[in-house]
């Protein structure tokens, strides 16, 4: 098994080009805010393992269902590039990202 590279799907997906005012070749980084519905989270770690920014972690407390929900690492709140891979891969529909308005 060993270690494997990050999914190709998450490599540069946060980079997009803005339609106006920015020079055409200047990439614009998107930012997002992560929301976690803790009561649904089953601590599967998909979001933690596959987030390209490695900004999520499992918390140290338990929900009433006995799982430790995912959370944003302290100090990493501004790191989200709104790629939404966590949202797409979460099997519990427990995490989503709202893109910050520039």
């Amino acid at each position: 098994m060993g270690s494997v590279a990050l999914p190709r799907s998450t490599s540069a997906s946060g980079i997009a080009r803005s339609p106006a005012r920015v020079p055409i070749d200047k990439p614009v980084r998107h930012h997002g805010t992560v929301h976690i519905i803790e009561s649904r989270c089953k601590e599967c770690e998909f979001c933690v393992v596959f987030c390209p920014e490695k900004m999520l972690e499992i918390s140290d407390r338990y929900t009433s269902r006995g799982y430790r929900p995912a959370r944003v690492k302290a100090g990493k709140e501004g790191d989200c590039i709104a790629c939404r891979f966590c949202e797409d891969v979460c099997p519990e529909y427990a995490i989503y990202v709202v893109e910050d308005q520039p």
Binding site: V4, V89, P91
Partner: protein
């Protein structure tokens, strides 16, 4: 669409074009952007920690939205097994049939009302062991159905027994010294039986899966999508692959894109334990469906 044109990063978010999304602040409501596509009152679902079925269902819901299938035209028919439980969580018309009988039931639904977009969603055991004959003949007829198989290489629900997709040598509760049988190669089986559209992805290819479902839902005839999904409590545990995330990474690390191999045939789609797995789109043909041909027979009978 080729594999190359469908980067794993393709796709994006669910649009609210087809189904109106709930108004108001999702966070305050403790709602997810998919909630209007789900029977959210039934969540959390029954699937185990690290199971891949939820990820695959999310991709299918994305496909319904992006293929602009109206909500009232969405039907999911399932059999028995963990994978077949999707009908309790997707907000579509749904029918939970008996073990292996999703395809004949779905065939009846489609023939009764051809305007419906009918999806069969079930496990490898359901579709290829007890339901194998139904699969074969629906593909032969080019019946208008999208069949999604969650292949977790075993009977997850009943305790991890080996089945028709368990790789040779793999451990399961019924093959404790290694499976002596060769598994079905599902894309080859589907293609040989006459399917019009055949694709295979792992759950970590979730963006590709979204694009595949979007494309396949808009096609006609018999379409088959195999999803290689982690089952960490049974197959993953017995074969010491690890957690669900590790099992996903494991399959993903083994995959080779169909478009990158030099072969026009389906050679190389076989799943052999610990050997590379070919993924991608294997078949995409426009050809007469059962409904097209049946309409002609009916017209002739009326002459």
């Amino acid at each position: 669409m080729t594999d190359e044109e469908t980067p794993a990063s393709a796709g994006g978010t669910i649009s609210a074009e087809v189904t109106p999304a709930p108004n108001g602040d999702l966070a305050a409501l403790e709602l997810h952007p998919y909630d209007h596509l789900l029977r959210s009152e039934a969540l959390p679902h029954i699937w185990c920690q690290g199971c891949g079925i939820g990820t695959a269902l999310g991709a299918l819901l994305h496909g319904f939205e992006h293929a602009s299938v109206p909500v009232e035209k969405r039907v999911i028919v399932s059999g028995i097994g963990c994978s077949s439980r999707v009908v309790y969580y997707a907000k579509t018309d749904a029918y939970h049939t008996t073990h292996g009988r999703a395809i004949p039931f779905a065939t009846g639904v489609k023939l009764t009302n051809p305007t419906l977009n009918v999806v069969v969603f079930a496990g490898d055991g359901d579709l290829f062991a007890i339901g194998g004959n139904h699969f074969m003949h629906a593909a032969r007829r080019n019946m208008d159905l999208l069949v999604v198989c969650i292949n977790n290489f075993n009977y997850g629900m009943t305790g991890g027994q080996g089945g028709p997709t368990t790789p040779e040598g793999a451990l399961s509760t019924t093959t404790p010294y290694g499976n002596a049988e060769r598994p079905f190669n599902l894309p080859e089986f589907a293609a040989a039986a006459g399917a019009s559209y055949v694709a295979r992805w792992t759950t970590l290819d979730v963006r590709r899966l979204q694009a595949t479902f979007t494309e396949a839902l808009a096609r006609h005839g018999f379409r088959f999508v195999e999803v290689l999904a982690p089952c960490p409590v049974s197959f993953g545990k017995t074969n010491k692959i690890g957690t669900g995330a590790e099992e996903m990474e494991y399959y993903y690390a083994l995959e080779i894109l169909k478009s990158r191999i030099e072969s026009t045939s389906h050679v190389g789609t076989e799943i052999v334990l610990h050997r590379p797995i070919v993924v991608g789109k294997f078949v995409d043909l426009e050809r007469e469906t059962f409904l097209d041909r049946y309409a002609r027979v009916v017209a002739k009978a009326k002459e």
